[in-house]
Amino acid sequence: MGEARARGSEGPRARKATSLRRAILAEKIAPYTFLLPWLIGFFVITLGPMLFSLYLSFTKFSMLAPAEWVGLDNYIKLFTNDPKYLDSIRVTLVYVLVSVPLQLAFALAVAMVLNRGLRGLSLYRSIYYLPSLIGASVAIAVLWRQMFGSNGLINQVLDFFGIEGMSWIGNPETALGTLVVLNVWTFGSPMVIFLAALRQVPQYLYEAAAVDGIGRWGAFRHITLPMLSPIVLFNLILQMIGAFQAFTPAFVVSGGTGGPVNSTLFYTLYLYQRGFTGFQMGYASAMAWVLFLVIAVVTAANFWFSKYWVHYDD
């Protein structure tokens, strides 16, 4: 009150009105202050760069000279005049199509075994999850490079059984296989998701099935798999997106070359080579956009096909 009198003409009612207006304004602004870091991040280092990269994909740009508009040239060259690019597509597709289903099959099989009232579950879960945690690190890639090399652990084991080994990573026929093994080895994270989902399957379904005399395989086929199908789809999409973008293992195992004979030239590795060692930033941008489209199409196709095999409870 003393304050109001000191301000003279401004009565208590007027003061109440301004403070109310101020409160309303504060409430309107508050959400944006919370969102401010995200907004800057979104506009300045996501949306802006995204549009810029789309523009760059239609240019020739080396960072040394201004970007030069070339229209669709980069895209045309990718598919008609760059055998290395086609190799990188082939390698990546094989990697995704072989390693992801294998990885999910392992994940589901182990989750099924671990699911029913087993003691020490958390210990097993940890052991099997551990490789997922470190699988993408350089340390493991280094280990893989030694394991599958000509003096490596794999050959030492084979030698123990009297089988003659070879340099698995030096042979174009087998190099990609070693990276597939590495990806399958990290089946732990989809396994943990499967385990959580298996716990949600109602027990009475199995009891009813047992009354009907359905065997174990039948129960798996007609109860577990349909009940789990949304989670299978979820894991499939997640792991495929991850596999399309794999980089570190191929880079380290091949010493950055993608060799031997382009057999481990992952898409992202070739993109890196073009963009950051060849400084063909426009060309690499076009590659990035094709990758984006491929991932979007594959994800959409997964959803589209899912209506034939995924069952939702409703």
Partner: protein
């Protein structure tokens, strides 16, 4: 038949049943342990190899080092030009700042999305969800150009600043999902008690977010610690290298001759990850199970 005899018969049947189930479960355990050992064998072997001299690394399947030497650790720690200690410090700085950035920025954004009303909310939320799907590689080149123009190349800024701007949409999403499980009545009660949005956020929401914060912190740490591509693009001076770059430089510089030292440093580089794994195991597993994070 007397009741006693019936009882005997039943217990006999039960023991047969338990015996069978014990046999079955011990078979299962044996299988699971054997499979686990095969899976972990490369890691165990690498740990052993880090204490072997090079002659034994290339001739032994057994992980037990004989003779047991520490020389690999000494040589590795000093090796690769700058010294592995520097790489460890660099990685720690980058990882810890990334954790702080992600926790602060993603939590704030998630609170706005989950609890507040404002113009453009639906649009921005859709943008956030779209960011989840965007491959990192689309942004790689333009971000490099942006940060190069800012003079940030060869500093930690390009690795850390984006985290303070909540570009890891995954954690925003995770926390929005988590906030949806916390009753709105709590916020409303705080508002009636006269708390503003910031007070509500700090005193009501933040304490309840602990599990989501822990999951985000652990995964941010692990992903930054393992990250190879971004540091490779931005860090050129070996004195600024993070651990993965240091390890890779080691591989280039010494070829196949220094496997022992390399394995020793690989073991050290995995150390902090194992530490987080042991401490945060509960949150880690919950985090993956409920949100489907990729490890």
């Amino acid at each position: 038949m007397t009741t006693e005899a019936k009882f005997d018969q039943r217990t006999a049947a039960m023991t047969v049943g338990t015996k069978q189930s014990i046999a079955r479960s011990s078979f299962k355990h044996t299988l699971l342990i054997a499979f686990g050992l095969v899976m972990l064998y490369p890691l165990i072997w690498m740990l052993g190899a880090s204490f072997k001299d090079s002659e034994h690394i290339f001739s032994e399947v057994s992980p037990i080092p004989n003779p047991f030497i520490l020389d690999n650790y000494v040589r590795g720690w000093d090796g690769a030009g700058v010294g592995f200690g520097t790489f460890m410090i660099n990685s720690t700085i980058v990882a810890l700042l990334s954790v702080i950035g992600n926790l602060v920025a993603c939590t704030l954004a998630a609170y706005a999305f989950a609890r507040m009303q404002f113009r453009g909310k639906t649009f921005f939320f859709a943008c956030m969800m779209a960011m989840l799907m965007l491959p990192h590689h689309v942004l790689l080149i333009p971000q490099y150009i942006l940060f190069a123009n800012l003079g940030w190349v060869n500093t930690f800024l390009p690795l850390v600043i984006p985290k303070f701007l909540a570009v890891d949409a995954f954690f925003v999403f995770l926390m929005v999902q988590f906030l949806r499980g916390i009753p709105v009545e709590l916020d409303q009660a705080a508002k009636i008690d006269g708390a503003g949005p910031w007070k509500t956020f700090f005193y009501v929401i933040l304490p309840l977010l602990k599990p989501a914060l822990a999951t985000s912190a652990i995964f941010t740490f692990i992903w930054t610690w393992n990250d190879f591509l971004s540091p490779m693009i931005y860090l050129q001076d070996p004195r600024n290298y993070t651990v993965p770059l240091g390890l890779n430089a080691f591989l280039d510089a010494s070829g196949d001759s220094a496997w022992g030292a390399m394995f020793a440093m690989a073991v050290i580089s995995l150390g902090p990850l194992f530490g987080f794994f042991l401490v945060g195991q509960k949150y880690l597993v919950q985090g993956i199970a409920t949100t489907g994070l990729k490890g």
